[in-house]
């Protein structure tokens, strides 16, 4: 195998490429975001995303909170809330949902356990109004390609 300059992949380059494919990108360099930092203005006439949220848009972000119970025990998405939620926003269209939530779309399915337990979620932050085509659920903030673990 040829080393250094030249066309094609070197062995080192090949290994580096393999390593980056299989590493969890989130753990390497994620920014912490708390529920208190989400909105710069909360008023009767609407909310405004904070500068921090706008800066973190598209970047790997870590948030801690509680899981609001989803429809199925094994789902690829759930709602992350600041406090344990008494009412599941998905479970009926009647339920209003508070401002302090982030919808988490998991990279792959994970089993949901311990609804009273605090969890940390890492994913790519997305802000702005978006309607989920499958559920019709309208969300303002999302963590994409995410995974979670109990803390």
């Amino acid at each position: 195998m040829r080393h250094g300059t030249g066309r094609g992949l070197t062995r080192r380059g090949c290994l580096a490429l393999l390593a980056s494919t299989f590493a969890f990108p989130a753990r390497a360099a994620s920014s912490q975001l708390s529920f208190e930092e989400l909105y710069s203005k909360i008023g009767v006439l609407g909310l405004e995303f904070s500068e921090r949220v706008k800066a973190l848009g598209g970047q790997t972000t870590r948030m801690t909170g509680f899981m609001a119970p989803p429809l199925r025990a094994e789902s690829s998405f759930f709602v992350l809330s600041k406090i344990p939620m008494a009412l599941c926003p998905f479970c009926s269209s009647d339920a209003d949902w508070p401002e302090d939530i982030v919808v988490v779309y998991l990279r792959k399915k994970q089993t949901f356990v311990q609804y009273n337990a605090a969890i940390a979620v890492e994913g790519r932050l997305e802000y702005g109004s978006w309607t989920d085509p499958e559920t019709g659920f309208v969300s303002l903030l999302r963590l994409r390609d995410a995974h979670f673990y109990t803390i």
């Binding site: 008023g43 119970p69 009926s92 609804y115 109004s129």
Partner: protein, 580 residues
């Protein structure tokens, strides 16, 4: 024999279909003369239009109503026909027998059409509702606010001086129990309905917006008078109780549509929470699924907008202001204990919310400018919203606030004696006071600190600044208040100082379990619930409601009445059964 067996089997195989036709309005309905309503007959199977015979006191229905109904051969795709005729009315008071058949045996229902005097007895009606109002709320408010010395109340609530009183039945067409939607709707339309329904009978129509309707009090007032209308609540303004003044839907959860119904009726004064359903979908914080901007629409219709207490007070003072839209929260507003004392709940996010007393005063200031009088509905919604999660202290502080609202209404009536005031709840809760909880009693077990009989003594709340509220809610000897119904929860025997109580949370099995956030509070004990695990909080009681009144028309309030009878008292007092 065989025919009957087959019919019975067919009924079993097709759940949801009645075995005989159903007529709306239902049997024993009391209907205001000249009031508009929808007439519907649902047949259990497909029938031929020509076979249908509907008689009203022996006459063909087309003659009585003056128009022909729409025949629907297969309603919503089911194998069952219906006849529907919208916006009919009957002018002549009396008993009406409706017989409906389609070849088979007829079904008969009887309606009572009642008339009213020609001239109104009152110029103004102030209708005050504390949602979930139960006897224990008033006893607790009186003890907390005024105290009790050697067995006699040391002061009186405004509630205590209303002249007339009745016990009111709150049951539903489909249950002895009820919710805020159908109970408020009973007051506002004179018709009983199913749980969760507003201004309609619950028929078999699939769409929540297609059920047979009845005119609400606000719609009648708009059509027949030049009175002003005000709707005030500290919940979302599209929540069931304020919605019942204007709405027609089988589903109280149709909050976005209900905002549209407010816009259709355009009450002169609309004050409350729930701005999220007024904002277009693209505005962050909106809960709408469309881009309609109702704040812009109301402004275009000439309304002044207020979004906090300062703006409300300023707007109400402007002499030529006759239309005000006040929205003070995206959701439900906060109650007195959080806004005035603890600063918890969502007070941090919405620091300048008006008190219900300010909202009532502002509404009266604006509405009383109308020379032809007004109808004002004010709801203290949070009495119920705090009673459900067993948060007694917050519920009782808001009962004290409700009593101050009554004081403002009575002050107005003292200067304007042609005012009927009604004070009531919509349904009750299973709440009761059984003594005191005394931290100074020995031991660690909180149940041993519950004082009963002589050992209850008197609580030690203090109101040194004389504002009517205890200066501190977490006193050492406080009221022992319990619910007779509850999910699994941790009983702490103490006020919830950190935030409104959340007794139960959902687990992964879709069941409500005790909220462990309260588990480690010293003395907290787990109580096993007596409700289905699908219930997250206490539920409504079936117990009679106590309704009070004063002013012209109040003399009709006595004994036991159905909540639907209250509509009759108000419409008779306002002479709405004639062309005013």
């Amino acid at each position: 024999m065989r025919h009957q067996w087959l019919a019975a089997a067919a009924a079993l195989l097709l759940p949801g279909l009645a075995s005989a036709q159903t007529v709306y309005p239902i049997d024993r309905a009391t209907i205001l003369s000249t009031a508009n309503f929808d007439f519907k007959v649902e047949f259990p199977n497909v029938v031929k239009h020509d076979d249908i015979k509907v008689l009203i006191n022996g006459q063909d229905y087309e003659k009585v109503f003056g128009k022909k109904a729409t025949f629907i051969e297969k309603e919503d795709g089911a194998n069952a026909s219906s006849l529907i005729l919208r916006d009919v009315s009957i002018g002549k008071p009396g008993t009406y027998k409706i017989e409906a058949s389609a070849g088979g045996s007829p079904v008969a229902v009887t309606w009572e059409i009642f008339g009213t005097p020609d001239k109104p007895k009152a110029k103004n009606v102030i209708f005050l509702v504390a949602d979930g109002f139960s006897v224990a709320h008033r006893t607790g408010a009186r003890i907390m606010s005024k105290g009790n010395v050697q067995g006699k109340a040391a002061g009186r609530l405004n509630l205590d001086d209303l002249t007339n009183m009745a016990f009111v039945g709150t049951s539903s067409t489909d249950s002895i129990a009820a919710d805020s939607a159908n109970t408020m709707s009973a007051y506002m339309t004179g018709q009983k309905s199913a749980v969760n329904a507003l201004g309609v009978y619950a028929s078999r129509a699939e769409s929540s917006l297609e059920h047979p309707r009845q005119e609400t009090l606000a719609e009648l007032i708009r059509r027949k008078t030049k009175m002003a209308v005000g709707v005030v609540s500290d919940a979302e303004i599209q929540d069931a109780t304020p919605a019942a003044v204007v709405a027609h839907t089988r589903r109280r959860a149709d909050k976005a549509e209900i905002v549209g119904m407010f816009y259709d009726v355009k009450p002169d004064v609309v004050l409350g929470g729930g701005s999220a359903y007024f904002l277009p979908k693209s505005t962050p914080g909106s809960k709408r699924k469309d881009e309609t901007d109702y704040i812009a629409k109301f402004k275009e219709a000439g309304y002044a907008l207020a979004t906090n207490a300062d703006e409300l007070n300023k707007t109400a003072r402007e002499a030529n202001q006759s239309k005000v839209l006040g929205l003070f929260h995206t959701g439900n507003m906060d109650g007195a204990l959080d806004r005035k004392f603890l600063k918890k709940g969502t007070v941090g996010k919405f620091p300048n919310q008006p008190d219900l007393t300010e909202m009532t005063q502002a509404a009266l200031d604006v509405l009383s400018r109308n020379r032809d009088g007004f109808f004002l509905m004010v709801e203290a919604a949070l009495v119920d919203k705090y009673s459900h999660p067993l948060d007694w202290d917050r519920a009782l502080y808001d009962t004290i606030m409700f009593d101050k609202v009554i004081g403002i209404a009575r002050d107005f009536a003292a200067k304007n004696p042609d005012t009927l005031i009604i004070v009531t709840g919509d349904h009750t809760h299973g709440i009761s006071i059984i003594g005191t909880v005394d931290d100074e009693k020995p031991g660690d077990e909180m149940r041993e600190k519950v004082g009963t009989y002589a050992s209850a003594g008197f609580p030690n709340y203090k109101d040194e600044d004389g504002d009517g509220y205890p200066d501190k809610v977490d006193v050492t000897r406080r009221l022992a208040v319990f619910s007779n119904n509850f999910p699994d929860y941790y009983e702490t025997f103490r006020p919830k100082l950190d935030n409104p109580f959340v007794p139960a949370v959902k687990n992964e099995k879709d069941q409500y379990v005790a909220n462990e956030a309260y588990k480690n509070i010293p003395g907290a004990v787990l109580r096993t619930g007596n409700l289905p695990r699908s219930e997250d909080t206490g539920v409504h009681a079936v117990d009679d409601m106590v309704l009070q009144a004063q002013g012209p028309g109040a003399e009709k309030i006595s004994g036991y009445m159905e909540n639907t009878d209250i509509f009759r008292v108000v419409t008779e007092t306002l002479a709405l059964g004639t062309s005013r």
